[in-house]
């Protein structure tokens, strides 16, 4: 009986020692954890405020991806619908586009310079319309007066 009691007591004492050792380890681990967390928090607190920093990459991705997807979806839906509705207009417009290049700019370049000068000259020496005839006469008179004066000189 005595031996059994002693063994029980020894076991109890051993478990108490183990648990107190375990408690010490636990307390030490908790103390280290506190110190580590304080270190991390201090590092974080030393950083500029979140508002001043760039957002996280994932957030940046979301910021870019969501509008991009929305825009792509909008284009995919709206463009076929609009082209379907305005199909005929589109065709005529295409025809107009086809016709316009027929006014060649090269023909202008091909016009001979002397021909162009002659055309301008003829335009300028064209008969004065009746309504403007008095003005033309006045011009002639001053021109003849000036010419006679120079002749006199």
């Amino acid at each position: 009986m005595k031996i059994r009691k002693e063994a029980e007591m020894e076991n109890e004492a051993e478990s108490m020692l183990t648990s107190s050792q375990e408690m010490r380890d636990l307390a030490e681990a908790l103390s280290l954890y506190r110190s580590a967390i304080q270190h991390v928090a201090e590092k974080q607190a030393a950083r500029p405020l979140a508002m001043d920093r760039k957002p996280a990459p994932s957030f940046r991705m979301r910021l870019v991806m969501v509008p991009a997807l929305a825009a792509a979806l909008a284009v995919a839906v709206i463009v076929p619908a609009v082209s379907h509705l305005h199909g005929h207009r589109g065709i005529t417009a295409a025809k107009v586009v086809d016709v316009t290049p027929q006014t060649p700019t090269t023909t202008v370049a091909q016009v001979d310079d002397t021909q162009l000068m002659n055309q301008i000259d003829s335009d300028l020496t064209e008969d004065v319309p009746d309504a403007l005839q008095p003005l033309a006469d006045m011009g002639d008179q001053t021109a003849t007066a000036k010419s006679s004066e120079t002749e006199k000189k």
Partner: protein, 192 residues
């Protein structure tokens, strides 16, 4: 006589707490690290902790007229932070984004941490291993267990103060703490 002195002391404390709140810049300077530490260790997400810390002070600023000094300024601010954290964890959309969070706090964040009294590299490595074990165990705790655990072992609050801050009764706080410690002991190789 003692009763009167006690009442006067309580009134004085309240007035002091209200006065302390008057200089809000100082309040932010003094309490920001503490609130940030609590949110960082509870959420293990840098961005969320930073955002909620700012929200906490914004709320405190907006509600400063309602502060009567019934609790300490620290308890009042921590209570705001706890409520914000609860809302944050309840929000389903945020819970979804949490999965893809890019600023998760990692055990690697303590790689440059030098533990006190551990001069040898082996000692420092051993200390880091111990912290990593606690870190992982804390990560497994439920939100309430973690809050109680962090307030007790990181912020070193008294159990009554934790009960007041979280809005739980004392026995619930004890129960959460007991479970949290049981998980921790188990992870550290001890008995449950």
């Amino acid at each position: 006589m003692e009763e009167i002195a006690g009442t006067e002391l309580a009134i004085e404390r309240k007035e002091q707490a209200v006065l302390e709140l008057a200089d809000f810049d100082e309040v932010v300077r003094v309490y920001r690290p503490r609130i940030l530490r609590f949110l960082l260790s509870s959420l293990t997400d840098r961005d969320a902790a930073e955002t909620l810390t700012q929200e906490c002070f914004l709320k405190a600023w907006n509600a400063r007229a309602q502060f009567r000094g019934d609790s300490s300024l620290s308890t009042w601010l921590t209570r705001i932070a706890v409520n914000l954290m609860r809302d944050h964890l309840r929000s389903r959309s945020l819970r979804f984004w949490q999965k893809t969070r890019g600023a998760a706090l990692d055990v690697m964040d303590i790689s440059d941490w030098v533990p006190d009294g551990r001069t040898t590299p082996e000692g420092a490595a051993l200390a880091r291993d111990q912290v990593a074990l606690v870190w992982k165990a804390v990560d497994e705790l439920s939100a309430q267990q973690r809050s109680v655990f962090v307030l007790r072992f990181v912020d070193e609050m008294e159990l009554e103060e934790i009960a007041e801050t979280i809005g739980m009764n004392l026995s619930t706080v004890k129960s959460h703490l007991y479970r949290a410690l049981a998980i921790l002991r188990e992870r550290m190789g001890g008995k449950k």
